[in-house]
Symmetry: C2
Subunit: 122 residues, 2 copies
DNA sequence: TACATTATTGCACAACTATGCAATAATACA
DNA sequence: TGTATTATTGCATAGTTGTGCAATAATGTA
């Protein structure tokens, strides 16, 4: 255990499974509570990609992509391997996309209910 | 539109569907990325409850519960109504529990994979 | 070996978030 | 009307998070 945490893991949530006592699902949901990371997952669904493939697609610094990937990897959502100077990443469990789709469906119906409510007020 | 935002909605994410341009699912996942709010949803699944029913169960200040409920309500995950001095809350769409269960399943299998990996290293 | 390419990490910073206390509002009841 | 109960909101604060730049590490190539 390093005396000083690496900067990516500077907080309790991402320190590790053992030290973090909260409902572990909050880590998964926190990982998904960022549109950049959702975009990265969607890109990786197309096929394995290295950090420098992703950065230009999201128009953010490579270092930021690297950190997002580290978070997704720490959860086990993606795996990685080295090929020359490149680090490739791929989705481990496709069911993560079921969760994304379920969230879309719920939000869609929520919006529909909201609309109906407004219609009644007219 | 109020000149100054209410303090609960002091940030972009919770301001409203219209001002927030990110993937709307990030709001849903952010709402679930908090163990207190997950606990609140679980309690409400047992049946409708008012703010003062929930606070002692979670051992946090009523004001905090009130804010968590406001966030869940802003998403449409819960609805509320007044009965005397009490404000009752109830879950709107039970499918939110499907998402919670799906997250559990994914994490369980991730942990299993991790364990197998460590076993191989022995 | 020297240089180029790719990825990660240290650092700094602005913005976001959960929380508790105190003040206020809303309602019921004596 | 005054008092009690419940809920929300203002304010303050410590901790979390996403981001970019610069430095460094890791690898391939001339």
């Amino acid at each position: 255990m390093p005396r000083k945490l690496k900067n990516i893991w500077r907080n309790r949530r991402w320190q590790g499974f053992h030290e973090y006592v909260d409902d572990p699902r909050t880590r998964l949901f926190a990982a998904l509570a960022c549109s950049q990371r959702i975009e990265i997952l969607k890109l990786l669904r197309e096929g394995e990609k290295c950090t420098c493939d992703i950065a230009p697609r999201l128009r953010i610094d490579i270092s930021v992509v690297s950190r997002h990937l580290a978070i997704l990897k720490s959860l086990g959502l993606v795996e990685s391997w080295k090929e020359g100077v490149n680090n490739y990443y791929a989705v481990v469990d496709e069911r993560i996309f079921d969760i994304l789709a379920a969230a879309s469906n719920i939000l869609k119906d929520m919006a529909e209910r909201q609309r109906e409510l407004f219609d009644k007020l007219r």
